[in-house]
Symmetry: D2
Subunit: 315 residues, 4 copies
């Protein structure tokens, strides 16, 4: 990640602010506020604003349940209870805003989470930076043979070199032709004084999907957890997982009690179907149970055994 | 508005906080943070948290439009431009949270604005306070004869007295019977040690719709303005308008530039239909124009003339 | 449930329609379309429109995954796969619209589900019907001692009689005074020709929360299932569960394959936390496991054992 | 637009369906149901499902306002009233679903409208078609000099030829290299039996933003109108406007009364600010008014005069 001089200065200015407020603050998050955390080769995330902390969730829950919450004596106990029972609205009382730089093909996955506010850099108005994502060699994976949407073994040697060259050359050539069509270089200088440039809103269509874009993305804690649950999961594409993992760290600094409950009940937990419950009961009571009786398909059976880490029961 | 000792202490504690933050702050809003602003006879609003200020809107817009915004030199010019052209996403970058105490029949109107986060006091868990709304005499209006959803003249004298007595007596009696069914008084004491109380989730159904409830309500600035545009309007029911007016004041303290643009373009502005535009053109050019030619219904014609404050053109 | 002559005629007219369409239809749902299914003492639900069926979900999934879905040979297999892996967007492709008559205190719970479209009967415009909910004797429950939001034993005998009388008398009296203030009876006739009536938007505040209201409520299948998962649950208040149960039946008629997957994976399933998974592993392998080692609270331990129906392991 | 044999057959099959339903139908829309309406060089829109018609809006409004709507005698009068006064919820009672094929850079604009349901073809699962957008010569515009996001004059002659060649060559080369990396041609055949292909989720990043994608997109009528108001506007990018214009035609066939009100009040109408209203008043009364007195900026003044088509008042 290379920040421009301008960006580095902006971050420095933002970090040197010190305002007095009556609002609750999250001291650990304040420490990294505005900081650009590098992701992939040119991307980053920065927390640029937030509202509330663990106590805001507790406060909202206590308003809802009134005297009903007095019995749960600790904040931690209450937050765990809310998480376990899907009492989700108190988690909406916290809000966070990120500045994210990311490749366009990842931005297209990310934007599918609709319950968020977004301001993206517009290539109708301005010229996109000359930066594109190239996977590092350990992330250059072959198509999985067993999973339509997954990755298999790493591609190595000559083929790896060739793939990276294709990606690099195509990104550079299409960017060069983007400048050509705009009749303007990315530093703003004109190429040919006697020509008009193509409209920016048209020229951008020549860029490849690994070009970097950036946006401000703001969401509440509940929807952030929904995002992270899916995108920090091992089935998520590596490139978005890299962002999700870094965001998980910011959640830990922001709302540590909620983070712990989230990791226990959501990220580390599993769902069991009605039929799956019956299988577990029989396994515990020592009754014989086989897949035929269970009503589960082979796929479901194996998913259940993997979720429970019972590898000897895979079939 | 009477605050309990407990509430008054909580507010005092909250207001005496002083934390250091790198986030932007809104100094005028900080001054009234947590303060209970009285509305109606027992209600209030309190701003209990916020995120962002006018500069957050500008920052988001500048990220979107990149170098495209450099020509608009001032923050104020840019915010006005965004408001005028319905570039609405930058306004979503600010968030605010209110604590509101309000009669249930108003809460039912309010909740129809869906794009907000809410935690309401639950009468399944806890006993509702013994507080109900009684209109002040100047707000005791007769049904409008011309407008199905509006108010006409004020009701006075004997009839007014009678209405207020009916409202008061019914609210008190139903509340007393609520306690009776719960077998518990609102201060928590038991009425008859030998009886079980009815479930709270059932007993609450005996309360009248002017009983006060309370909630935490959080929304972004764009959706807050959508709410205020409708609810601070002269056609809104007086009781919700009282809340909206007080909230408008908090917007002014929070984001003064946006407030000004909002008042000019939305609250004080008007919409003109395609046919209405033709009428205005003719009026300006001095051409004769009558309702028949205009294609407007009588109702539309008058709405247009009222919007433009051309009372002599009403028919 | 008593329908007015007018309503009964409207339903008859709607049901006698027969239009030709190229859209997919759900024959079992068509059979009960528009029919008023009685709920509680005066309420009902009616399916008044719908869009899509099980094949619409499959179609959307196949567009998303392209050739990737060819391996899943059956519609049923694909729908189960989507449900199990929280691939939720294909379920949003079906839409349904209900006409519901329900007590106001239940409407207030219901409306908390925000991702739906609603048009409610407005008591600002019109006079509410003289109908209010009175629980049947088997639903007249005492407050639970163990669960702040739950019901305990049924209240019987003299106390039951007394509660029902209080509810009935208060509802009738407040309704009578509502008419009094309006200076109009619910049949539209004026009470005193020499008086003005109070504005409807004010008079309504005198009604009790068991008064019936009605609305059109439209949502997509995914959000409907989220609603039903919470509201058809045994912890939901009986009065809203009565509606949810009837709606579950309509889902079965509409999208039978999805219904089955929903019952297996969501309604009948359970979630297990990270710590809970370890407990299950030990129980299956026959290792000794006690609550102390497990890291679970007593409450969590018991919730897990109840979810798995291992009553002998409760502590 | 070239449909594959498979697609053409699917459309034919869908169109030959004839089901009987008790639901309301929109006969004009039924006529074009499933039909692929060509947009740009390879794109299309198809209406694939819908729910409700103009009468559904009226029905919802009459439930809301009860007897209050009896005075508005006609459906058309009521729909116009709702549109004029932003009574928006009845318009949410109608739903429509489109199948759309569109270039990725347009899909990125489109998806910013969040209140819709979407299932997009996934390039993680399947290989994208070899189709990319190339502007027709009359749409090959230079960057506007006055408007940062707009188009100026058409680019012609040698430069036009050159631009089109760059776009075409880059799209073809990057697609060829996409196949190369996948080790698979778009018809599914393998290129080199001795090689593994790169994961699809990675290879796709090499494609240019004018590559076509497709999705199912479902929304309610209110949000569709919000989309169309912005995207059928003369300031919208031509390529998305082409889709919006075709969708406007489908709205006309579906809900003709609403369409007419929408064109009059929203598309053809304008907003006037508080200060703008004062300018209009003075212009009508023949008072002298200049920009200085008005409080409007030069930009605002001109926008007002253009909106009212008073070209002689431009400054």
């Amino acid at each position: 990640m290379k920040l421009t001089k301008e960006q580095a200065q902006e971050i420095k200015d933002q970090q040197s602010q010190s305002n007095s407020t009556k609002r609750v603050t999250a001291p650990e998050l304040e420490k990294i506020l505005y900081e650009a955390i590098p992701i992939l080769d040119h991307g980053f995330i920065r927390v640029v604003d937030y509202m509330g902390d663990d106590t805001s969730i507790v406060q909202a829950a206590r308003v809802s349940y009134g005297k009903g919450t007095k019995k749960v004596s600790t904040d931690s106990g209450l937050i765990k209870y809310l998480m376990r029972h899907w009492h989700s609205t108190p988690f909406e009382m916290c809000e966070i805003k990120y500045h994210v730089k990311l490749p366009i093909f990842i931005a297209r996955q990310w934007i599918r989470h609709r319950t968020a506010n977004v301001n993206e850099y517009s290539a109708r108005y301005s010229i996109l930076d000359k930066e594109f994502y190239l996977p590092s060699s350990e992330n250059l994976a072959a198509q999985s043979q067993s999973n339509r949407q997954g990755r298999g073994e790493v591609i190595e040697g000559e083929q790896a070199k060739q793939v990276l060259e294709l990606l690099k050359n195509d990104a550079e050539r299409t960017y060069k032709n983007y400048e050509e069509m705009l009749n303007q270089r990315f530093d703003g200088t004109t190429i040919d004084e006697n020509k008009k440039g193509l409209a920016r809103e048209l020229a951008r269509m020549n860029l490849t999907l690994n070009t970097y874009t950036q946006w401000y993305w703001k969401t509440d804690l509940l929807n952030l957890m929904n995002f992270l649950r899916l995108r920090a999961d091992s089935h998520a594409q590596y490139e978005i997982r890299a962002y999700a993992d870094a965001m998980l760290d910011t959640v830990k600094k922001w709302v540590p009690i909620t983070y712990e409950a989230f990791m226990d009940y959501r990220v580390g937990g599993t769902e069991v179907s009605s039929k799956g419950k019956k299988v577990i009961q029989k396994l515990i009571s020592g009754e014989k149970v086989d897949i035929e009786q269970s009503g589960l398909s082979k796929r479901e059976w194996n998913e259940l055994m993997l979720a429970l880490e019972l590898k000897d029961k895979l079939i």
